[in-house]
């Protein structure tokens, strides 16, 4: 049995998981997430990793894999690109999924994969931030609600107000106008979710996604966004392809999970010998290369 770690350094938060693997059986034994909030990224990574290691109660790790912006983490054994890890993590969390929709703080991307987790194609949102978590966070701040409340409030909407789906700046102006016009918070939030959901529906259609799509990343726990995306797909899908959007309580860890699982794959393939990380030493001996 191998023990691997996956660390996903996002632009808004750092996520880490510790997993055990035996053949094709993978199990999460610890997980931890922390927002970066203007702190040094290395300090946040160390904090999140240490917490996960303590929670797991392990003394040694066979392969420490990073993903996202984690290329420079010096105790990592290897790094995997975000699409690769979200695809594999999505498949672990939802074995029926054929694609993942990764909605992060700064951008969103739709990734189509095969049954082994190999990326077949992908598309990202363009440079505009209007499909990102940072945008939603800004709106929540204007409205005086916490991020955890956004999803439930959005589901209470009875008359959603449309916002610009093109530009975050225009959308933010729209929201300020709505507040001054007395539009209720749930209707504003649902309008934003509808706008984002429409973009995601187009993104998923452009990669040819069919079947179950798992939403991953920081916004995947937003039930309002999941519902709005599903509705947008149902409304806009002119080809009639069945597409079901799902969330998962551990969706935010999908990148870290994928990294840990691919780390196990590399550990088995390379047969590096010895642990990549132990409580006493953080580096594998060079001779093992």
């Amino acid at each position: 049995m191998s023990v691997t770690a996956g660390i996903d350094v996002g632009s808004g938060a750092v996520k880490a998981v510790i997993m055990t693997s035996q053949g094709d059986e993978h199990r999460i034994i610890a997980k931890c997430v922390s927002r970066i909030r203007r702190r040094e990224i290395v300090a946040v990574v160390n904090e999140v990793f240490s917490t996960a290691v303590d929670q797991a109660g392990v003394e040694a790790i066979d392969y420490v894999a990073t993903t996202g912006e984690g290329e420079d983490i010096d105790f990592a054994t290897g790094h995997f690109y975000g699409m690769t890890t979200h695809a594999r993590g999505g498949l672990f969390l939802e074995p029926e999924s054929t694609a993942v929709l990764d909605v992060g703080a700064l951008h969103s991307r739709a990734v189509l994969m095969n049954r082994q987790g190999k990326v077949l194609t992908y598309k990202m949102t363009s440079q505009c931030a209007s499909g990102s978590g940072q945008f939603l966070e800004n709106i929540a701040r204007y409205l005086g609600v916490s991020q955890a409340e956004i999803g439930e409030l959005s589901l209470q909407a009875d008359d959603p107000e449309g916002v610009s789906s093109i530009c975050a700046v225009l959308a933010e102006t729209d929201v300020i106008n709505m507040v001054s016009r007395g539009i209720s918070t749930p209707n504003i939030l649902r309008g934003i979710h509808d706008s984002m959901g429409g973009r995601f529906a187009r993104l998923l259609r452009s990669i040819g996604a069919v079947g179950v799509v798992l939403m991953t990343g920081g916004l995947a726990s937003d039930v309002g966004l999941v519902a709005a995306t599903q509705e947008a797909i149902n409304k806009h899908d002119k080809f009639g392809r069945p597409l079901e959007i799902k969330g998962h309580p551990d969706s935010i860890f999908a990148g870290a999970i994928g990294a840990a699982i691919w780390g196990d794959f590399r550990h088995m393939k390379l047969d590096l010998g010895g642990a990549a990380w132990t409580k006493n030493s953080t580096q594998r001996s060079s001779s093992a290369a």
């Binding site: 290329e71 790094h79 995997f80 690769t84 594998r284 060079s286």
Partner: protein, 389 residues
Amino acid sequence: MSNRKIIIEWALGVYEDLHFTAARETLSQNPNLKAVGFLPVYAPREVIVASSMLPVGIYGGGDQIEIIRGDAYYQSYICHLPRSVIELAQSDRLDFLSAVLFPSTCDVIRNLSGMWQVMYPDLYVRYLDLPHVRDPEVGGKFWERELRTLIDKLGEVSGHRASDDDLRAAIHLYNEVRWVIRELYRARSAEPWRLPTEELYLLLRAGEVVAPELFLDKARAYLEAIHEDSPPMKDRSRVIVVGTFCEQPPLGLIKTIERAGCWIVDDDLLIGNRMLTRDVQTQGDPVANLAEAFILHSEKTSVLYEPDPDGKKTLMAQRVRAAKADGIIFAAPSFCDPALLDRPMLRSGAEEAGIPCIAFKYAENTGQFQQFREQAGTFSDSIKLWGGS
């Protein structure tokens, strides 16, 4: 600070200094010494040193210089290197050179030699017509005559015509330089995490503009220091980078490729410094020896004619095998005819041999690396997870 860091800090300082302070200081310390600039890819540095002159590689301004005057000389479909070379010259950054050599790398560099003659009529400017016929009796004799002419002309500029003994001493010196570069490449291929390409490149770039003796000291010290505080070993794919022999990529691009998950274990960067693959004989006629070494023992590169019809097809597989690489990154400067015309032949040969490849283009002043990061990162993943690595 460790020796390794001290050396790389020094090299970075030399690399970033577009006023060539290191070369200027060498000249001011040796009043009889003059400097000869040379453009990529290959110039016979032995002849320059034997003529009591300092060879100075001119590789443009990279991403550190704003092109104001250089763009007026070239159409938009010409690569970036000659623009920044002109910018360096027109801003008086190359005013310490007494001569400039323009090798026959491509027609852009040939045309640049003509421009130089017009712009700087008092400077000795020479177009080096490198031989493409690999027959010692034809190309060899031709190159020998060219070298003898160059020896005469540089002797007139420096006031010291190189003797055979001067040439033998310079050949010996450059045999040492090539040996240490080969050792650096060998060490990087064996343990790439100890010798990141970013550092190797900086050291070699510095070696293009300082005296060869100083470069030798630094390179030997660096070789000894690579086990000091080296970065930790990482699980990355091993790649060779092909096409970067003339206009050099920005340092950020080299860093990006390695950070994204690829160890560069062989490359074309600054290939002129190791163009001769074997030591040049120091016994006998030194000029004939230099000519013969170029004709018979040159690196295979896009700027030299390949007489074997299958040569381009098999070259990549040979290089990949030699470097124990997993894949190839074809990285060519935009509008670089030699690299881009060769690429389809090289790539199809590589793909027929089952070698994974990606390709992109850059310019020396490219400032955005996200697309390269994405390409190199996914390439590395595909090799590690779905390839043979």
